[in-house]
């Protein structure tokens, strides 16, 4: 049925003389389960189907979306959107050349999402809930989400890719309370694959970790707000690489403004810094990554991209249009959350690795001497124009004479991207477990699964609290 719909739409578009078009016909399945204090608070299953059409005509895009049954209306709306864009056109959009692909992007599942019943998934979520039980825990939340992204991408150039990509994630959120003091503890995992993710870390372990973080946080003192030298673990390496540095390097952002604009081939970080986005990284430490892409949503293969190499800005992250604009190569970073939104430039698996002088974590602690060790980053926000960022940190430890000491309450860290990139004084090369670094990154109202953890970083100074 999908073949017929797409052929008919392309036939109409042929008469309209469009230069390029891509159609994404989607029929994805989602399940969400949320338990609170031993009770299923929310359980959702759904089928998301529809068509997204993007056309390039007279040098501008036209994007539209709608129900599968409305192919001809969708074509009309895309042409209408194209005409609106023509009204504001100042320059031609061009697309970098790519090879056409006819292939499948099939995410392997050892324990298939569809083979496991809804009741079993509730059971798994309940396991994470039960593990959080403690008289000091006032509220327990466990959250399970699976997405089976089923989509066909067809372009007028001849690319046809079938996507069948499963994602699973789970998190636990414990709220501990003692008198008027409350504190949250979080833990999460996820990967691109099936339910075998729980063979690596069970729901019980997720729940226990969230509980432990809340209880430890409750008895720990608050850190005094201020500037400190720090060591950041692999999860915060990823968070910084993604939020602060990565977003600033997204080609569509840079076309508008941003701290990395006009800095290609210039030094933007300490010489020991490599900033990498790697959509081709299928596994890390034996675990499937959340940001793996065989192909992006323009049909460009996922790939390893050195955004910064030896401290020098090598490239931006590109889709086909930003690649043509900057005269760079497409980097396989064009993604859309679903059929109803256009593709934009997104990251995949992003981290910082040492360009030279790799150090061990204990050497980083020794180098910082006195400061803080920040572990388990969560959430994050960046202003890529001003170059400022703000992250959450679940575990905070004092570093005294190069040794890890007293634990402090969860807090936040804030800084400036360029300044922090230049204040990195040491990097360890060992990638940490990617399970902790999964997330759904938000941009322009769209979310995309991203990863991955990296090694530890030493930074001369950063604002905590």
């Amino acid at each position: 049925m999908s073949d017929k719909i797409i052929s008919k739409m392309f036939e109409t578009l042929g008469k309209e003389k469009v230069d390029y078009a891509d159609i994404r016909l989607e029929n994805s399945h989602m399940t969400v389960i949320k338990t609170v204090n031993g009770k299923v608070e929310e359980s959702i299953t759904g089928i998301e189907s529809g068509i997204g059409l993007r056309i390039l005509k007279e040098g501008v895009w036209g994007f539209s979306c709608g129900p599968v049954e409305s192919g001809s209306d969708i074509v009309k709306m895309a042409l209408q959107a194209n005409r609106l864009n023509l009204r504001n056109k100042t320059q031609d959009i061009k697309l970098a050349e790519v090879k056409t692909i006819q292939d499948k992007f099939e995410g392997a599942q050892k324990k298939k999402l569809h083979d496991v019943g809804f009741d079993k998934k509730i059971e798994l979520t309940m396991e994470a809930d039960k593990a959080q039980e403690d008289e000091r825990i006032k509220s327990r939340t466990s959250f399970y989400r699976e997405v089976l992204r089923k989509m066909v991408l067809e372009t007028t150039e001849g690319t046809i890719i079938e996507y069948n990509v499963p994602y699973v994630m789970m998190y636990g959120l414990s709220v501990a309370r003692e008198e008027s003091e409350t504190i949250e503890g979080r833990s999460r995992i996820g990967h691109l694959g099936g339910l075998e993710v729980f063979d690596f870390r069970s729901p019980t372990e997720i729940g226990e970790k969230a509980k432990e973080r809340a209880l430890e946080g409750l008895k720990s003192p608050k850190v005094k707000s201020g500037r400190y030298p720090v060591v950041l673990d692999g999860t915060i390496n990823h968070l910084f690489a993604h939020e602060a540095a990565g977003h600033s390097a997204e080609g569509d952002f840079v076309q508008t403004a941003g701290v990395l604009k006009g800095k290609l081939e210039k030094r933007v970080a300490a010489p020991i810094v490599n900033l990498i986005d790697d959509g081709s990284l299928q596994e890390s430490t034996g675990i499937k990554t959340f940001g793996y892409l065989k192909y992006d949503d323009e049909g460009v293969p996922g790939q390893k991209t050195y955004i910064i190499k030896n401290g020098i800005l090598e490239t931006y992250l590109n889709d086909r249009s930003t690649a043509a604009y900057f005269e760079l190569k497409p980097t396989g970073n064009s993604r859309a959350e679903a059929y109803n939104v256009p593709q934009i430039v997104r990251m995949t698996n992003t981290y910082i690795s040492p360009a030279s002088n790799p150090m061990k974590p204990e050497e980083l602690l020794e180098q910082i001497k006195n400061g803080f060790l920040l572990m388990q980053g969560g959430g994050g926000q960046v202003d890529p124009i001003k170059g400022t960022f703000n992250f959450g940190v679940a575990e905070l430890y004092e570093i005294k004479n190069g040794e890890v000491g007293k634990r402090y309450r969860p807090t936040t860290l804030a800084g400036n991207t360029l300044e922090t990139l230049n204040k990195i004084t040491g990097i360890s090369p060992e990638m940490e477990n990617p399970l902790d670094s999964i997330g759904f990154c938000g941009k322009d109202g769209q979310s995309a699964p991203v990863g991955v953890s990296g090694g530890w970083l030493a930074v001369k100074s950063i604002v905590i609290g």
Binding site: S49, D73, R87, S180, T182, Q255, T412, G465
Partner: protein, 485 residues
């Protein structure tokens, strides 16, 4: 398929679903359908990114074996509808029975119906684009550059029918327009101004760009400071409920009835307690005639109402839907929300507690008085990191921008100012509330001064500051291109 055909399909599909749910043993069923058209207009610097889409779909919420189930679909075939209802029933049956579940709401006529602007409902893409183009300003002050503009026009229909007899067919329309400008005076800084309305003509399109430019001029040439300690902070309306980071959204979450019933918020069991300054009154107003989020009925068909959540500093009630109203021995105040204009496709999640439009009553100080009575402190807005706040205790640590105040005067704009504390403490430390209120996309609130908050900030590295000065000099001499534009 025309829009009307789609409406007929949705109505028919809801009827099929309700009938099928009954046959399959569901004690209650609710069907919800959406057919909305949206023009999303965007100009990113010189790159037009307009798009047009139909947002469609159906969801079913059922009660079976005394438990709730929910499923959605965007396919309208009879088999798909029945499959979706079966999923919702299966979903309910896998849960334990919930003794607090009393059923879905009964029909009740809304006493206050909101008008729908027919002209907006029928606006064509070109008409929307005409309005969008009007907001742009041709001549810009020096060192001010256009960054981005956006417009959204949403219009369409929603259908809600349940087994208790609620049968609503709602037509609605709203639009919003906004722009961002960048200042390259000193370190680059930018600001955004957006307005929303339910009636065409409510937004003064010619003034919108000028307002955005004024906002960015006010924060041009920001400085960074090395400072830490306790300081008075004036939180601007953009800082409390602005779309670029409103700190008081944390307060709204702390007042959700579901959190209160589970003891998950510091305000649980605090109804009747003084929780804020005695002049602080906060209202949720879904009936504002021209706010994009306004609605006569909530997401489960209960008539909406203006609700005083905090009156003269005393907590009066929580945001409540039918289920949690019953659980807390209270009544729903119509706060079940399904998202919508700004929240993605509303069929994808069951109704859950949310706010419509927050209003804070004006105080008795002028903004000038608030500034002149501040010896040393900050006026802040556009906070980053709000989503990392602790939504149980209300603890926050956020980074904002704004102005440094010394000896009762605004000295200069600042950025990267981190403030931390807890919402309960902040509410009690509010010592001045302005007479002036500013209307935002989903709020209408005054300036609020907090007597003391913990502040930490770090001056930007010398090398970076020096680098920018050198770059500016090179741009003036024509030796370098301005990389920020």
């Amino acid at each position: 398929m025309t829009e009307n055909d789609l409406n007929v399909k949705i109505k028919k599909a809801i009827d099929i679903g309700l009938k099928h749910a009954k046959k399959e043993g569901a004690s209650h069923c609710e069907g919800y359908g959406v057919n909305q058209k949206a023009y999303n207009l965007e100009l990113e610097k010189n790159k037009p990114k307009h798009s047009i889409g139909i947002q469609h779909g159906l969801s079913f919420r059922v009660i079976a074996q005394q438990a709730k189930g929910f499923a959605y679909t965007s396919s309208f075939g009879e088999e798909d509808i029945k499959y979706t209802v079966n999923l919702a029933i299966q979903n309910a049956k896998t849960k334990k029975p919930d003794p607090d579940l009393m059923g879905f709401p009964d029909p009740k006529e809304a006493t206050h119906k909101l008008d729908v602007d027919k002209k907006l409902l029928e606006i064509e893409a070109d008409g929307a684009a005409d309005l969008f183009e009007e907001i742009h300003v041709d001549k810009l002050p020096s060192d001010i550059f256009f960054l981005q503009s956006m417009g959204f026009f949403g219009m369409g229909e929603t259908f809600l029918k349940n087994s208790q007899g609620i049968d609503l067919h709602d037509q609605d329309a709203g639009y919003g327009l906004g722009l961002a400008y960048l200042s390259t005076h000193g370190f680059p800084n930018y600001d955004f101004h957006i307005e929303g309305a339910r009636k065409l003509g409510s937004i003064n399109t010619k003034q919108l760009g000028i307002k955005a430019i004024d906002k960015v001029l006010e924060i041009a040439k920001p400085r960074t400071l090395s400072i830490s300690g306790e300081y008075p902070i004036i939180i601007s309306p953009d800082g409390s409920y602005g779309i670029m980071g409103g700190l008081f959204n944390v307060l709204n979450r702390l007042l959700h009835g579901d959190k209160a019933s589970r003891g998950e918020t510091v305000f649980a069991d605090k109804i009747g307690d003084l929780i804020a300054n005695e002049n602080f009154t906060m209202i949720d107003d879904p009936l504002d005639p021209d706010m994009v989020t306004s609605a006569s009925y909530d997401g489960e068909g209960v008539p909406t109402e203006q609700t005083k959540l905090i009156e003269n500093g005393v907590l009066q009630t929580y945001y409540l839907d039918t289920y949690y109203g019953n659980k807390l021995n209270m009544e729903s105040n119509g706060k079940a929300s399904r998202g919508g204009f700004l929240g993605g496709n509303p069929v994808k999640s069951p109704p859950s507690i949310g706010s419509f439009a927050t209003k804070i009553e004006p105080g008795d100080s002028s903004l000038d008085e608030m500034i002149s009575e501040t010896q040393e402190g900050f006026m802040l807005k556009n906070f980053m990191g709000i989503h990392m706040s602790d939504l149980s205790s209300g603890r926050f640590a956020v980074t904002g921008s704004g102005w440094y105040i010394k000896k009762g005067e605004i000295k200069y704009p600042v950025q990267d100012i981190s403030i931390s504390g807890t919402i309960p403490d902040l509410l009690l430390k509010i010592d001045m509330i302005s007479k002036e209120r500013v209307r935002g996309l989903m709020s209408e609130v005054p300036y609020l001064r907090v007597s003391q908050l913990s502040v930490a900030a770090k001056k930007l590295d010398f090398k970076l500051r020096f680098g920018i000065k050198v770059l500016k000099a090179m741009i003036k001499l024509g030796l370098a291109k301005n990389p920020f534009i």
